[in-house]
Assembly symmetry: C2
Homo-oligomer: 343 residues x 2
């Protein structure tokens, strides 16, 4: 098996820098669009054969060093009792957002064995079909990110309802976060037991908080999830999008590898996080649309900043844009492999 990714997660010496890409399966790929045109997004996620097939598409096309399960961070919301709808263009909508204490009390915390069985089946299928070529990453949204969807009823620009609850109804906030965290933990434990070989926790929207608010209202819950996975022995990647000012606390919340976006230079971020953790990132996904020469300069710059230090996993600073071309994504993966190969 190509275990370069897993070894890098453990900060072992590797022959070259492993690379995978957030949203490496998706609309930029014709293989994906062939399936997408005939089915809704939710149908694709809920059909284990299709989810497995899509998970494998980038492995077959891109030569990446890890697969990541095709799924959506909002899938567990349905099992919690929330109605999620994926509208075209508008992003996800939650039809019954959290507005009061009753809404928090109705959050169901399903045990590991019962949560989104179709996701677990997809994981088992991928592991079978991937036949050891590369490891499979499972994932979930982090507590703040999931809570923000549940409270705002969808994506948000300013997270005003979220912050109003956080500051104005602390007990309710903590009860909500506690339930959400337990769901996420059960969901991720089930993924590992089904065969996920590493886990990424996505805190996509936490960049709206400053350090004090993150520390008080969010960190304990992300920590709870990460510590609750420890006994399973798989590496955890903790990604806080737009979180440059939070890095020290993101590390404190936990994770073997800290994921960073492109706004911060990788060397500075790693120095602040400390070399006792791996780092994942961090090229601007828009670079996939740049001329090759620019792409090359930026790949080299990031590899230089990582200084061949063990524990670097190359990735984008955010998901692949749908405007990207497959040949450019392939070129990026190839560049990372080529320029990082140890003599």
């Amino acid at each position: 098996m190509n275990d370069v990714f897993l070894r890098a997660c453990r900060r072992e010496q590797v022959e070259y820098t492993p690379v995978w890409l957030m949203r490496q399966a998706g609309r930029y790929m014709d293989d994906y669009m062939k399936i997408r045109r005939r089915r809704s997004f939710l149908e694709m996620c809920k059909n284990p054969e299709i989810a497995a097939e899509i998970t494998l598409q980038p492995v077959n096309r891109l030569n990446v060093d890890a697969a990541i399960l095709f799924a959506d961070i909002l899938l567990p919301l349905e099992d919690m009792g929330y109605e999620v709808e994926f509208t075209k263009g508008e992003g996800p909508l939650i039809n019954n957002p959290v507005r009061s204490g009753n809404d928090v009390e109705r959050i169901r915390v399903l045990p590991e064995e019962e949560i989104t069985p179709y996701v677990m089946e997809a994981i088992r299928l991928v592991r079978k079909e991937i036949a050891g070529r590369v490891p499979l990453i499972g994932f979930a949204g982090a507590p703040f990110t999931l809570a923000s969807y549940m409270i705002e009823g969808g994506s948000s620009r300013d997270y005003l309802n979220c912050k109003k609850m956080m500051w104005g109804a602390k007990d309710l906030w903590h009860e909500l976060m506690s339930r959400v965290s337990r769901v996420i933990l059960n969901y991720l434990r089930a993924q590992v037991k089904a065969g996920a070989q590493a886990i990424q926790l996505f805190d996509s929207w936490v960049g709206t908080l400053n350090r004090e608010d993150y520390r008080e209202y969010v960190m304990p819950y992300s920590k709870l999830v990460i510590q609750g996975l420890k006994d399973l022995g798989v590496p955890i990647i903790h990604f806080a999008n737009n979180g440059s000012t939070l890095l020290e606390l993101v590390k404190e919340a936990g994770g073997d590898v800290i994921g960073i976006d492109w706004r911060i230079n990788l060397d500075e971020a790693w120095a602040r996080i400390g070399y006792d953790r791996g780092i994942q990132g961090n090229i601007d996904p828009a670079v996939l649309l740049a001329p090759r020469q620019i792409m090359e300069e930026k790949v080299k710059d990031i590899l230089n900043r990582a200084e061949n230090r063990p524990g670097h996993i190359f990735n984008l600073g955010h998901g692949v844009h749908k405007e990207s071309r497959v040949e450019d994504v392939q070129a990026l993966v190839e560049m990372v492999h080529e320029y990082s190969r140890r003599a």
Copy 2:
């Protein structure tokens, strides 16, 4: 005259920390809505009497230490030959965005005397009506922010067209930025000559860039604007929204006072910028919707971080949300004055 704000901009000792709020005139205020209901946003901006009246509303209601001209950063685009439309809910749209070299060549650079005369008339009216109570701040969008609207045709999440031009058509990008900067400079010089006593440059969207791209593609143009204002002798506030990773370069681009958003702690930001500059910020505007006790804690925290050092101007980290209540905004201003008053 209450010149606490201007003295703080020059880092002189002041009796208390001056405060004004980005978007302090706006939809959260009934006085504003009375006018807004009968007129389009653009009509309000283009009518000097109305723009002056709206500029003065927060001065009359909030006890802030500065007025900021009621206007929109996109107003100069019309004089450049671009058609701007303010749609309800969707934000501004530019009907003829920059797509090619021809679009760049058609950007008109009007001289100081000819650019948006209605804005200059509004400034003269405000200065007359404000009768020296507080100083008046003029403002403009920074070159990157204006260019991003012109290229994307409106606001954007990923700035892909912008980055494609930046990396893929460098000459075009530099020609565009050069023209945009000259327009901004002329626009701001005209504002000062009409009576603006300080200037804020808003780089609202520059947080999408990492440091290397900011340095190469943006910094020279922001610098050109700021240096081109030097001989007029008014203080310049340079605000780079979501720019925590860019602060050292934002300082290098210039500004007597650097504006910061709420994601970074003020003491750290100031230490990185250096105490040879003032600092403006930086409470989360969502705090206006929090209980008073939280607001109080957060105001005190920011004042403590500023350590009574000369050169702090209190502000939000971004504009007032329309969901805010006037009495809460008044309370914030009062708290800043009260807690910062020097014995």
